[in-house]
Symmetry: C2
Subunit: 244 residues, 2 copies
Amino acid sequence: MLGKSQAKYIQSLGQKKLRDQEGMFIAEAPKIVGELLASAKSHIHKLYALHDWIEEHHNKLEGIDLVEVNETDLQRISQLTTSNRVLAIVKKFKIPETIAIKDTVSLVLDTIQDPGNLGTIIRIADWFGIEQIVCSNDCADMYNPKVVQSTMGSIARVKMFYTDLAEWIAQQHDAVVYAAVLEGKDVMAMEKVNEGLIVIGNESKGISPAIMKLVNVKINIPRKGKAESLNAAVAAGIILSHVV
Amino acid sequence: MLGKSQAKYIQSLGQKKLRDQEGMFIAEAPKIVGELLASAKSHIHKLYALHDWIEEHHNKLEGIDLVEVNETDLQRISQLTTSNRVLAIVKKFKIPETIAIKDTVSLVLDTIQDPGNLGTIIRIADWFGIEQIVCSNDCADMYNPKVVQSTMGSIARVKMFYTDLAEWIAQQHDAVVYAAVLEGKDVMAMEKVNEGLIVIGNESKGISPAIMKLVNVKINIPRKGKAESLNAAVAAGIILSHVV
């Protein structure tokens, strides 16, 4: 059974302010909740699930605070158009204290504001073994339900930082800063990169001038047709596939 | 001024059945309408726009059936959460009579059902100079407003076909059929492709068995991390960047 105040609390986690205040976020649907159970079980604060989902997964649910709900109740608390069997209230991940720079490639996101794009980029990073993403403070919130959904579970595996990006990059004196732009070195001809920062810019505005000044290597994805630009997540995927 | 019946008609084009019946679709916002004015002006059946947008573009609007609307009316007919200055009713493009196979690379989409993914793939094709996309009949409708929006105008430049995919591929005896799968030839090691069909499968189900039987070359995007899969549009972008 789902009380009114409980439902209200869960719905409130759709807002960033309340997520920040509570230190919690929402993750939904079997795929993502399954990944969290596998790789971040201790972060699951509470699960709301249909009877049949619970039956199917009872051997993984030891120690989990579990509430069985019916379809109507699940839809009431869901952020999805159609709720999907299970919803988790999850404790936010700890912000890692240091950002590693040596011997590692990091993605750096300058004002990626579309939650679907941010989530997809986190998933791409996880695919290519990129362990950390540094975001400008005006990127979408990583705990926005749409971001969480589009990471498909990768949110539990990639370290995320939010910071004043221009200031932070300026402090990384030893780092080579790469950026995807419309004119630059052909990505097809790039050598593999073992260490560095790869900047992806906002889709309509590109990389902000303050950050562009700090870029050492401009990379270009050659265009053969007429589209004016590529989606930011697609550009990130293409670049990583060539340089990592 | 916008009449009630006109508003109702425009809203109805949000549904596939009505779009098919009328042979019309909706395109919105300055970027996309601008691209349509530039590359498919004769297809624009009617424009609804704010006063300032009309002022800015009056030199491109000759011969266009134009209705000036205010913000409230534009929001009423818009499919976007926040309407954006201009909405066009556009005549559907003619279905090309033949699909070229010789000396050309085509994308083939097996059950891409998410409108955002389909639109993004059309935009990627346009970036890489892919001139045609063959879709299974159960792909999202190319004229779905969300597809149109995410093509960012590329919808006017890429030829789209819908067909019984397994049957159609089986008839292309001379075509080499490539497909992105989890186990196959490393895309990084692939030679450039000048002719062939590149199949992208449904994200959760992958490529359907009937079509998998017809695949000649399996391509794999090497994974270094732990994500289970890549977004279908991202996979399409990565493959095209390596083989075209």
